[in-house]
């Protein structure tokens, strides 16, 4: 386990979209295609990176998220990526992902990204039903989404699609049909998210006024279980609450978070956690561009206890669960200590499976995950 704490993934936030989606609470501002400050933003990322304590760490993966990082000129993005590789101990074969919208990706763009060093695309399909795409305020339609997937699958090494369920009127049958359509394009990884109303979004405001209803809880639950069956039938593993992949195609970057690993965050609104210190940058692009090396607006020091709780909160979302030795190595604490009674109770009720090495929540209890984890906090 020596040096494992120094394995670090990198997240680069790109804070612009062509249009802000009504459900999204990630840091993003609307921008017109011609106005993206491609090179300036790369310069800012490079400047911030120079001040981050990453020398000697091994780079585990890189993820360009947003916003819509596929709006970024692939060359400028490539320059940021090269700077990252240079700042860390030379990394070998890395997973490098870029998030895309169906409207800002095609075969040509995918090839350019590949040229820049990217080997994985995560495409925000959300739905392959035109009515639901309109509900979500998306700029693409179903045909466009499937076309984008079909175009990039042959070009890019690995492709993932994001889908959403739990919209009003959307049943398990409806979602099954959408999954089938997406899998037919050859993607090997799907993130299937339950629509969540975040308070600081347009949907949040509508919901507060009673003008937006979600699917009934039963539909959520049925769809969640059905999705697992459908993906399983396609040979995919439900490896995290909202993620399904063919064996060997899981997202290394996200698994690194869920295992409680350190991550560098760069860019406007980005969050990073290094050596038990978590920070967040100013989400306003203009502020970030003006002072990328002094853009932090939040920081917290994580005590060993906090880190254990986070390891439980994140690890128990996955099928591999929480490894006791990993937590011990990272925090100096035994994840079981002080929660023996809660663990015993949850084991007895079947909510938790524990052996000498790790504990995990079996798939059939994932719908109750938050309550189980809160009990262990």
């Amino acid at each position: 386990m020596m040096g494992q704490g120094l394995d670090t993934s990198a997240y680069v936030h790109f804070p612009w979209c062509l249009k802000k989606c009504p459900y999204c609470d990630f840091a993003s501002a609307a921008i017109r295609r011609g106005e993206v400050p491609h090179e300036d933003y790369t310069d800012a990322i490079v400047r911030e990176l120079e001040g981050r304590p990453v020398a000697g760490r091994r780079l585990e993966s890189v993820f360009f998220g947003g916003g819509t990082p596929s709006l970024w000129d692939p060359k400028a993005l490539g320059r940021a990526l090269a700077a990252l590789r240079g700042a860390f101990d030379a990394g070998g074969d890395l997973e490098i992902t870029v998030e895309c919208n169906p409207t800002s990706i095609d075969a040509e763009k995918a090839a350019a990204l590949r040229e820049a060093g990217v080997n994985r695309l995560s495409i925000g399909v959300q739905s392959v039903n035109d009515g639901r795409l309109r509900f979500l305020g998306r700029l693409h339609d179903a045909a466009g989404a499937l076309r984008a997937l079909e175009a990039v699958v042959p070009v890019m090494e690995r492709v993932s699609a994001d889908l959403m369920f739990g919209m009003p009127g959307q049943t398990a049958d409806d979602f099954e049909a959408e999954i089938d359509a997406v899998l037919a394009t050859g993607v090997e990884h799907v993130s299937a998210y339950a629509l969540t109303i975040e308070p600081d979004t347009q949907f949040g405001a509508l919901h507060r006024k009673g003008r937006l209803t979600l699917a009934p809880e039963g539909d959520f639950a049925d769809t969640f279980e059905r999705a697992r069956e459908v993906f399983r039938a396609a040979g995919m593993i439900h490896y995290e609450v909202s993620n399904h992949a063919l064996p060997g195609r899981t997202s290394q970057h996200n698994q690194h978070y869920w295992r409680g690993g350190d991550y560098l965050g760069l860019g406007a609104g980005a969050v990073g956690t290094l050596n038990g210190r978590r920070y967040k940058n100013d989400p306003r692009p203009e502020r970030y561009l003006a002072a990328p090396a002094a853009a932090e607006v939040f920081e917290e020091t994580l005590e060993p206890d906090d880190r254990v709780r986070e390891a439980l909160m994140l690890g128990l979302r996955t099928d591999e669960g929480v490894r006791f030795d990993t937590v011990q190595a990272r925090t100096g604490l035994d994840a079981r200590a002080g929660r023996e009674r809660a663990i015993a109770r949850r084991v007895a009720s079947g909510d938790l499976v524990v052996d000498d090495e790790r504990m995990r929540i079996p798939h059939e209890r994932w719908l109750h995950l938050d309550g189980i984890v809160a009990d262990l906090f």
């Binding site: 980005a270 956690t273 809160a374 906090f377």
Partner: protein
Amino acid sequence: MPFPIERIRNFSIIAHIDHGKSTLADRILEFTGALSDRERQDQFLDKMELERERGITIKAQSVRLSYTAKDGIEYQLNLIDTPGHVDFSYEVSRSLAACEGALLVVDASQGVEAQTLANVYLAIENDLEIIPVFNKIDLPGADVDRSAREVEEIVGLDCSGAIEASAKEGIGIEAILEAVVRRVPPPKSTTGNAGPLRALVVDSWYDSYRGAVVLVRVIDGVLAEGDKIRMMATKADYEATEIGVFAPFPRAVGSLGPGEVGFFAASIKSVGDTKIGDTITHTQVKLRATEQLPGFKEVKPMVFCGIFPTDSSEYPALRDALDKLHLNDSALTFEPETSDALGFGFRCGFLGMLHMEIVQERLEREYDLDLVTTAPSVVYHCYLTDGSMVEVENPSRLPDPVKIDHVREPYFTVAIHVPAQYVGAVIKLCEERRGEQKGIQYASTERVIVTYELPFAEVLYDFFDRLKTATRGYASMDYELAGYRQNKLVKIDMMINGERVDALSAIVHHSNAQTLGRGLATKLRKIVPRQQYEVAIQAAIGGKIIARETVKALRKDVTAKCYGGDITRKRKLLEKQKRGKRRMKSVGSVEIPQAAFHAILNVDD
């Protein structure tokens, strides 16, 4: 040499909460020079954090003041501060018995309140000289004439010599002290210094070095350091190792003579060995009194509830905490209790609701315990067919109905003071609560005293909150025990997923048992959080199910997204959720929040 008795004045202050008692006491201490500016501290006599916060006094205290009056003579004034709540009315009566006079402090902007009145009557019963003081005359709403009229009409007290004061502004303090000297009679002693000792136990508190410290008022004889003394009620003998007074800080004196107030310590293990109202005398036959001072009563708890740790491993800590509280609070009783639902805990007895709240709050605050408490219950007298009687202080322990001949429940005489326009609302509430009207007295044209006899259990069930709502907060209330009465009482049992939860049982009158049972089931449905599985809630009377409610299963309890940027927020949400669970108790596989165990207290909410 004991202080000359004719220059001693013992007095107390009677006031409603917030009418300015503590502030007036502070001013008197300052005026007589007992406190230097450096020592000044608001509400000096309220020592406990809780007392200060709630503005109530729980323990009696005394301060000896030296005051040179306008006649040029130096007097010894003993101010005895009494607990101000009806829960402690026996303690108040003993404090008053130690005085010859009392200041009746009335907020001139508010007028007379019920609780004040109860204590005034106690003072009158003890033959005290009462000096009315109209406080807060600096307030724009102050109306001394109206307040004086009320005191004269309601209390029947001549207000021609009343003093106008503002404790806050320091107005009228000297006039008050002069009145105490001139109008409060000096203590009387039939035997003087030489006779057998008789000293009244006013209160006692626990000190970890000295054991119980006893506050006494000497009536006859002298109590001196080294004296062998006897408690006449408990017949226990001690040696007085330390004698002192508070001035206001404790100061040793060699002895206390007739009329004087002070404290003694005698290596007494707990305050339980010192009964309030008991008489202290000498063991030596020549100096031993034959007759106890009048008025002694054994204090009996009136209200009981179960106290359980949420985490059963905290049981020993709870026992230790109760032991420690008991050292200083002999009215608190506790016995181990086992509940099927809540595990190991204690059935605790209290003087009243305030006493109960204070103890619960101190256990949680000072001893950092997470507790689940059951709804308070009165003590039922259950007469069995074999002629015997059992006292039932836990509803789930009511014997099998076939063995019961009849059940008697405690009644209170409740006096409610209310502006005339709310009389109808008060009567309606009392009638709903099975009350029997005893009288309606117009104290003045706009103020009425409504007197009812009410089952004490009905008073426990959010009676005071309802009263405040019905009268927009204008009602004040006083109550005292009026004996036991036979009524047709039945037990409601609550079942969760088919299992009876003993801690949820309640004894109620049969006429509204059905309504209460159904209401309780509905209320519990709202309180019990949804869980992984459906939860059935049933109410039963005498084994017959009368209501059923279902808490639907929670189908989805999982956060969709959790990535690097969300971790702090999600962790904090879960931490909050965990804190919410601290006050829940798992009954079988169902998590039940604290509120469920008190649901019976306000079923209609």
